[in-house]
Structure formats: structure tokens, C-alpha cells
Amino acid sequence: MNERMSTPTSDEHLRQALRHAPDADVSAPAYLRAQIVASAHRSTAQPGAAKPASRWGARRVPRWGASGALATVVLTGFIGLLWRGETPAPMADKPAPVVAQAPAHAPTPTPAAAPAPATSAEPDAKRRPATATEVRADKVATLNKAESAPAPRLQNAPPQVADSADSAESAESARLAGATQAAQASRKEALEVPRPAPALASAERAADASPATAAAPALRQRMPAAAALSTAAPWPWRETLQEGDQVQWWPAGESRPVTVAGLQQLMQATRGRWQPVQDTAAGQDVQQLRWLRGDITLGRFWFESDTVLWCGAAPPCQRAALDGPALRALLSALGR
């Protein structure tokens, strides 16, 4: 090995090359600055906050309270069940903390596909015609069932079932028109007639648009995870989903796990709305949610004024447009 390591000319040439490299003028994105500086301000605003001794390279200790830790455990379990294609166990006895903060018109974030009687979804279900949810429960993966809790906000959303030609669509139209009986007939039909596989996507969309509540317990059959993954992916991050994943608000110094109910609502509110985008610039001070596996971020959500932006490890990023009230309700359910 030669000893030209410290040759000034050589060093200077390499430094010059480094200075002119294409990334030489790159700076950290503005949103990172906003979050980091905000974190610094928060830390100085905490009087007497004794910090643990830090070593070089010491690992960051998340500063969650007991409730945060509990919520993380619950959420992790929930995601694990989704990943396995199981129906999450009833959890409605203890609604997530964000439920109480949700505005009155916001949907009750019913825990994932919990048995219907446990939540406030039941009265809604009685008023509204149940439609294709049962079909969906019979055909679609549990992952989809998990988000079948009613979402009144979606009643005002642009109908996503316009292309659906099955009875579920009829039921949805009837519901919108107040024709309860017609919808009930449709529901019976939906229950009795096995739906061919190609109709699943339509039924699924119709079920989403219809706020009919969770499927009857008898119809909730465990579906293999493979079946769940074989259906059309309604969320761009679905393929990212794995057991043990966490979803947290950031910045890190104040990271907080997202509740199960919040995650459900995120799935429901944005379902079918995702569109790939090239413009991935997020504004400053936007709310950010991270999808984590251990310390690795698999993707991020940015909540802007009228859209949710998702960027995972693999391009392209995707946006879901939401109107203002829907976005506020979603943020409320998510706990921010």
C-alpha cells in the first residue's frame, strides 16, 4: 500500500470534487427544520426536565407515558391481527382516548370489526339499511372488515360506488334516498346470493360507501392472509403492513403512538382516494405520521390542508384528497 494518503494535491483534488458534487448544495428539507426546531423549543419549555445521561451514540429513549405504551401495545396487536388476517377481538369496552376528543359529528372510531352491539354504531345501523357489508364479510379479507365501522363522514363524501352495478350499489342509492325497505331487500339479496369473485371489488367499495355496521358475527369468518392480500389494495401502505409495526406521530422527541381507532379512520377516510403523484413537496409545519418498524421508517404521512400525502420507500408517493371537515375529523380521530 502506498503512502500517498495525505498527499496535499490528491486531498485537494478530492475536496474540490466533493465541493462540486451534484449534492453539494443540498440542504435539509424545510419541514425537517420546522420539526427539529419545534422539538428544541419544546424541550426548553419543559422546566427542570432532567434528561438521562447521554453517551455518544446513545439510543434515543422514546418519551411516552404509560398510556402511550399501552396504546402502542394495543396498536401493535391490532396490526398483527390485520397482518394475519384475523378479526381483532372486541375492544369497544374501552374506547381509545381520542374518541372522547372527536367532535360530535365525527364517527365513533369503533375498534376493528368489533361485534356490533358494543359500539354506538348499532343505532346508526338500525337507521340505515345494511347493505353489502355482510357480503364483504363473507368474501373479503378480515383486513377490510376491520375498517367496516360506520363512517358518517363518508355519507357526504363523493360516492365511490358509481361504477358499482351490483345490489350493493342499489342499496347505497336507496339509502341516500331514504328508501329503507328497498335497501333491506337488497341486503337480503346480497346475503343470499353468493357473489362471484370479480364483484368483490365493487362490493367492497360499496361497503365502504355504505355506513352499514360490522357484519353479523356469524358471517365473520377468518380469512387467510393470502386472501386478504389478493384483493385490490385500497391503501398504498397496505403492502407495508407487517406484524409489529407501529404508527406514530412525530417529531421523535414527542413521538406518540396512534390509536387503533385513529388508524382505522385513516384507512377508511382515504380508501379509494389514493393517486400517485410526482410532486411530493410537503409544506412546512404539516402534521406528520410515521410508519415504523423498529427504528426504521417505512413510510410517512403528511396531513396537509386538503390532502394526505403518503411516501413509502418505493416510489411513487400518493395523495388522497379530503375535504376540510373530513380531514379535521380524521386528525381528531388520530389524536392531533
Binding site: M1, N2, E3, R4, M5, T7, T9, S10, D11, H13, L14, R15, Q16, A17, L18, R19, H20, A21, P22, D23, A24, V26, S27, A28, P29, L32, R33, Q35, I36, V37, S39, A40, H41, S43, T44, A50, K51, P52, A53, S54, W56, G57, A58, R60, W250, P251, A252, G253, G294, D295, I296, T297, A313
Partner: protein, 205 residues
């Protein structure tokens, strides 16, 4: 009026002056971001924001316990970033050898693109003022860095980008002096070969 040093700013931040932290951030963010991006390389580019943010968060959390340890605050910050980047690469399944020098002995390094491929380019000495030449050289150097093990890439970047002396680098990375020196030597040797015509002829062979 002279600017406050990094140490002074950090102490002020520890005392509750958030503006001092903003000054630190403004002063070092660009270099740190570049360092992180280059260290992670293209394969882990999506994690650059993550590592960068975590590094600053760690600095924030360490404000009460931070003390100068023989290195500058900037070196300390870059070392935090290095540790976090290595963690990240490991978790992404990228092989990060602690002893990156092993296996290099006696094995001539063959860059993906041989120096001959760049024979048509002007020699560095003749084109020193040519901005296009240096831009191309910078791109070439980034490509060459992709081929280096993380350990060698780290010492090269700290030495060339951040201007750290080998001794200071060894202390910051908790390496022996000879180890740090060896890593840098290997890195330089490989980069010299890879850079080919972008280095002065007498040094590029």
C-alpha cells in the same frame, strides 16, 4: 463581533435558549445532511431524513449532559449521525462490517468502471478552472463512494468533507489511530483508482 462558538451555543441551549439551538442548526444542517446522504448512499437514500432528524433529536436530548470531550461539537454531531446511519444500514440488511479493513489486504480493488473509461477526459491539472470538469468529477466521486464500505466511507468523508485530522477522527469514532489511518488509506487508494483521469496523472496510477 465574533460569532459564538458551537460550544457556547450548546451551553446556551442547555440553559434554555432555543435560539442558540437554531443557530447551531443553521450552521451545521447542510453539511450534516450531506454527510448523512453520502454515508447512506443510494441504497438507503430514503432513510436520510430519518437519520438526520434523529441525529438532531439526540443532540437535543443530550443538551444537559453534553460536555466537550476533546473534540468539537461539530465532530460530536457528525459522530452521532454516523452511529445512527450505521444502525440504519444494519437494520436495512446492508452489511456493515466493523472491521472493514479485513479482506482488503493483498486484494487489488477493481472499480466497477475502470479508470480507462475516463481516459478521454482532461487531466485535472489542465482543467482546474473548468466547472464542468469538477462537477463531473464530483459526480464520479459520489459514484465511487458507493463502492466503499461504510467504515472507509466514514473516515474519508470526515477527513475530506469535515476536515478532521486522523487523530481527531479516531477519537471521535473510538478507533485506534492506526485503524483510522488504515481505513483512510484504503479509502483513498480505492477512490484514486476509481477516479481515474479526474486526479492528476501522477497520483491516479
Amino acid at each position: 463581533m465574533s460569532q459564538p462558538s458551537d460550544d457556547q451555543l450548546m451551553r446556551a441551549f442547555a440553559a434554555g435558549d432555543a435560539a442558540a439551538f437554531e443557530a447551531l442548526y443553521t450552521r451545521h444542517q447542510a453539511a450534516l445532511y450531506r454527510f448523512v446522504r453520502r454515508l447512506l448512499g443510494a441504497a438507503a437514500a430514503t432513510q436520510a431524513d430519518e437519520v438526520f432528524q434523529d441525529t438532531w433529536e439526540r443532540a437535543i436530548q443530550a443538551r444537559h449532559s453534553w460536555l466537550p470531550q476533546g473534540a468539537t461539537w461539530r465532530t460530536w454531531l457528525f459522530t452521532l449521525a454516523h452511529h445512527r446511519a450505521v444502525d440504519c444500514l444494519r437494520k436495512l440488511g446492508r452489511e456493515v462490517s466493523v472491521h472493514s479493513d479485513e479482506g482488503d489486504e493483498g486484494e487489488p480493488w477493481e472499480p466497477e468502471a475502470a479508470a480507462d473509461a475516463w481516459a478521454g477526459w482532461p487531466a485535472a491539472s489542465a482543467q482546474a478552472e473548468d466547472i464542468f470538469f469538477w462537477r463531473a468529477a464530483g459526480q464520479r466521486l459520489l459514484d465511487c463512494l458507493e463502492g466503499l464500505p461504510v467504515a472507509q466511507k466514514t473516515v474519508f468523508l470526515l477527513h475530506h468533507e469535515d476536515g478532521l485530522a486522523v487523530e481527531e477522527m479516531a477519537r471521535a469514532l473510538e478507533l485506534g489511530f492506526e485503524t483510522a489511518k488504515t481505513r483512510l488509506r484504503y479509502a483513498m487508494s480505492k477512490l484514486r483508482t476509481c477516479m481515474g483521469a479526474y486526479l492528476p496523472p501522477k497520483l491516479s496510477t
